[in-house]
Amino acid sequence: MKNKFNNNKAARQQWRIIALFCIFYLTLSGCASPYKKIYRVGILCGIDSLASTIDGFKAKMSELGYKEGQNILYDIQKTNIDPDGEKHMIERFIGEKVDLIFAFPHDAAKTAKDNTQKSDMPVIFAYANIDDEDFVNSLLEPGGNITGVQHPLKQLMVKRFEYLIEIDPTIERIWVGYDNSQPSFPHALEALKLAAQAKQITLVEVLVDSPDTIKADFEQREKSADIGIDAILLTPSPVLQTQESWDIIKVFAEKHNLPVSANIYEQIKDGAVFHLGNDYIDVGKKAATLADKILQGTPPSEIPVLSPEDYLRINLVRAITLGLNVPDGLLKQAVEIIR
């Protein structure tokens, strides 16, 4: 009996040794999990002309290690100035519980911000005019569930005005179309008025809510011998960014030899004299760095809002056609000159 007991004891100790080795081996060998999270990002492009922003965004995300189809999926939606469509898409993103919403420009971003208040779904914006709006708490700590790449409207508008009168010093009256869709527009317009007043230039302000409004204004002007304006300064109003509006403006400007300060990049190649604005690819890349931080767990409220650089592009052909002598200093500052 005792002998049996001893044998059992020896066997137990043998098993203990084996078990110890197994635990040791498992501890060393098994920590890596094959599971990797696949992120889902909803992208809402509110204006088709800004779509190249998405390319910049995806390219930078790829650089940061987010490979489309492997660990990240993009749901890209373009609504092209359709407030209802924007709202619908944002609701869809919320319903599908995407990890992140990237929405631009201002109106789409605002819709995303307003509709995600309850869900706390992170939102990144671009081309948002946050100067005088209750859009974020501050540039350093935006608060809430939102951060992004800003678009300082007031600064941009005044600088476009300065370039316009530098290109054509004979200008006395400038047509400025605007709408009231964004609370910051009146403030930007006020700054513009002050700058114009200093230069003794008259701003011809026209409230536009549709391409038809623009058309009606121009038709009215053509009824007079003097159309009442010497140049056109386009603001980032959604209506003014549509192709339909641009077609009306372009025809009118060509007909009356008016220099036009473009609103979007594409317009510089289509008859505008110059464009001062962001590089869409660059903006997309900046937004991607923010997205990376959010996906890695940083709350959007703690990520500072980024400011993109404005780049000057000049259509010298159009300027010469109009008989304008673009200063060499401006040409030196331009990142692109169409000759």
Partner: protein
């Protein structure tokens, strides 16, 4: 289970011990060599990392320096190629705008003349007054510039974009080397971000730029730069801020890096501007190869340990087999099979051990037999002693009981059973915590006190026992320790008869005291009566005597012989009666006199009284002898009265003999001194000796010896 048994159970078998020793030694050796190798590898890797980081940091520092230098160069080139000092304002503006176009990092350029007046301005932002920029320049900076030096300001943050900016200034001269002015360039450092961001430092390493105060200037995470928080809490940055400009290169350190991961980091100062480039490589990446080697080493250790275990198992089985056989036989002998002999084969040492074991078991058997015989003898002796003790207990007339620490009775003798009318079984079934009669009589509390105080306690107590007996018992509790536990010993004696006699004596004493009190009261009354009578009789007697005296003095002539004789008789009797009353008053006063005791020299006192009572003539024919009398404690006045009465009595009653002899002496017994006065006078019949000291008792007629019969009563 005792300690030895537990140790035996927990002890490893020989087999397991050998396995563990083999495995342990193998692992220890491998760990030792592996650790040495690991430390060597770490040291080598540190050197590699140090060199690599320094190289990358220098390249980055060069790039950053180039970035700044390029800006200065642009401004210098514009100055010299365009002969800026001599150009009109329009052309100066053009030059500035060209510089803006050439260097995207320039946000604003201002041209100042020798008096710091703005000659030209170009800006990417909408028109802004140059005052802001000028206000940010310290006066000494302008002095420095006028002396021909370049200037770089501290980093400051743009309030609109929160981007880091600096002011760069470079002076310009005319052909005669006359100072003509300065170009100020507000430079946006975010254009340096790409430079730093695109830098590859290993797989996941990174670089960033800090200024001397510890502020972040360029880093791949722009958000962190924009927040503008000081980073001096990071070790390397803190080192830079504390180090001088010419500090030697540092060794790489391990710390929590700017990305909140453990990193190996180092920095290289730029010199001009006074910034530094910090290079951080994740610790995991830096020591990845070493970690892999360490993991490989651990796997090798495991494999070797397994092999060592298997080898040890085989060897130990062979070595341990004969010992296990020996152990099994020993186990069986321990189980009672004392006649077993060990038969083993194997190493010589084990065979010797087996023989020694067999010899030992033989001796054990013999010792066991002796031991059993001794145990039987001792058991009988113990039994006898136990029986003797039981008989003592049985024979004792004192009731004895023993209670254990729970209060249970564990021993009671027959005497106790007789005393309380109980059988021995009934007594042994008792627990004193539950005996009502103990609690009612107070015996329970006495038992508890004795148990708690460990002091012997006894008490005479009247009790009605549980078994119906009522009696007086003398109970004595004694506490003693047995087998580590306190026990209570109770001895009981029936003292009912003793109590009864004691009560009777008490009753008699009470009666006697009552009678004594009664007698004392009667005596006091009698004393009062005697005093009152004596005192009251004196007055009429004095009147009778006085009137009789007057009649004798004044009317003697009118009386015949018979009348005079009768008056003489009246006077004599009145005088006798007066003397009698005086003595009675003295006796009565003596009874009420308070005693004031002190030492009295009796010899002196007796001689003094004798001298006082006798004349020299009387003393000449009286033979008066006084032996040495011992002194006494008493009232000297009263003692003088005693001697006076006794000696005067002796003189009086020996007066009729020819040669009176009066001797005074004493006898000393155990507790008293007897003084005596002896004379050779008339004497008295001893039949009446008891009356000798009574009042008015006379043993002789008055005609023989005058007196009132009160003298000895006073004694």
């Amino acid at each position: 289970m005792d300690k030895h048994a537990r140790q035996s159970k927990d002890a490893l078998t020989l087999y397991a011990t050998l396995v563990w020793v083999f495995v342990g030694l193998s692992v220890l050796a491998l760990l030792f060599s592996g650790t040495l190798q690991l430390l060597s590898n770490i040291q080598s890797q540190r050197l590699v990392i140090s060199d690599y980081q320094y190289l990358v940091a220098q390249q980055t520092a060069q790039s950053v320096s180039n970035f700044i230098q390029e800006k200065f160069n642009s401004m210098d080139t514009a100055i010299w190629l365009t002969d800026l000092a001599l150009k009109p304002a329009e052309e100066q503006k053009y030059v500035l705008e060209s510089l803006l176009g050439l260097q995207p990092a320039f946000r604003q350029l201002i041209l100042l003349d020798t008096r710091n007046k703005v000659l030209a301005q170009a800006s990417r932002k909408s028109y802004e007054a140059p005052d802001r920029l000028l206000k940010m320049l310290p006066e000494e900076a302008l002095l420095q510039i006028q002396k021909g030096n370049r200037f770089i300001s501290q980093v400051y943050i743009d309030p609109d974009t929160y981007e880091p900016l600096i002011i760069m200034a470079t002076p310009f001269w005319d052909v005669f080397h006359q100072y003509k002015g300065v170009i100020l360039a507000e430079t946006n450092l975010k254009f340096m971000w790409d430079l730093v961001e695109n830098l590859r430092v290993g797989e996941k390493g990174y670089a960033y730029v800090i200024d001397r105060t510890g502020n972040l200037i360029a880093y791949k995470d722009a958000a962190l730069v924009l927040k503008g928080k000081n980073k001096r809490y990071i070790k390397t940055i803190d080192d830079f801020t504390k180090a001088g400009s010419s500090a030697p290169p540092q060794e790489p350190s391990t710390y929590m890096g700017i990305a909140d991961i453990l990193v190996v980091g180092n920095y290289v100062p730029l010199g001009t501007p006074d910034w530094a480039v910090v290079i951080e490589i994740p610790w995991q990446e830096a020591y990845e190869k070493i970690m892999w080697n360490a993991a490989r080493g651990i796997i090798i250790i495991i494999v070797v340990a397994v092999l060592a275990a298997l080898l040890a198992s085989l060897l130990s089985r062979r070595l341990a087999a004969s010992l296990i056989n020996l152990e099994n036989t020993a186990t069986r002998i321990a189980g009672g099979e004392m006649d077993l002999q060990v038969v083993v084969s194997g190493p010589k040492e084990v065979i010797n051990l087996a023989e020694a074991f067999n010899s030992m078991t033989a001796q054990l058997r013999e010792m066991l037999q002796n031991l059993e015989t001794k145990v039987a003898e001792r058991t009988q002796q113990l039994q006898n002693a136990l029986n003797f003790q039981k008989e003592i207990l049985s024979a004792s007339t004192t009731g004895i009981a023993v209670y254990d620490d729970t209060g249970q009775c564990i021993l009671a003798n027959e005497a106790l059973g007789r005393l309380v009318n109980a059988t021995n079984e009934q007594l042994l079934a008792q627990n004193y915590h539950h005996i009502d009669s103990w609690k009612q009589s107070g015996l329970y509390q006495i038992a508890l006190d004795a148990r708690d105080s460990l002091v012997e306690t006894k008490k005479e107590i009247f009790i009605k026992t549980t078994f119906g007996k009522e009696a007086w018992f003398n109970c004595r509790f004694t506490t003693f320790i047995s087998d580590g536990h306190p026990h209570l010993l109770l001895t009981v004696e029936d003292i009912s008869e003793h109590k009864r006699v004691e009560q009777e004596i008490l009753n008699l004493n009470q009666k006697l005291q009552a009678q004594a009190d009664h007698l004392s009261t009667a005596n006091k009354e009698l004393e009062a009566f005697s005093y009152s009578v004596s005192h009251d009789l004196r007055a009429p007697l004095r009147a009778i005597n006085g009137y009789a005296h007057i009649i004798q003095e004044d009317y003697l002539a009118f009386l015949d012989e018979e009348g005079r004789h009768l008056f003489d008789v009246i006077r004599e009797n009145a005088q006798r009666m007066s003397k009698l009353i005086d003595d009675l008053l003295a006796f009565s006063r003596l009874q009420r006199t308070e005693m004031l005791p002190e030492t009295v020299e009796m010899t002196e006192l007796a001689n003094s009284v004798y001298q006082e009572l006798t004349t020299p003539e009387e003393r000449s024919h009286i033979d008066f002898r006084v032996d040495g009398l011992p002194p006494i404690k008493g009232d000297p006045i009263l003692m003088r009265q005693v001697w006076h009465n006794l000696i005067s009595n002796a003189i009086k009653f020996s007066a009729k003999v020819l040669r009176p002899v009066i001797s005074i002496g004493s006898q000393t017994n155990d507790s008293e001194i007897i003084y005596f006065v002896r004379d050779n006078g008339a004497g008295f019949d001893m039949e009446y000796a008891s009356k000798l000291f009574g009042v008015f008792q006379r043993l002789h007629s008055e005609k023989e010896f005058e007196g009132t019969g009160v003298g000895l009563a006073i004694v």
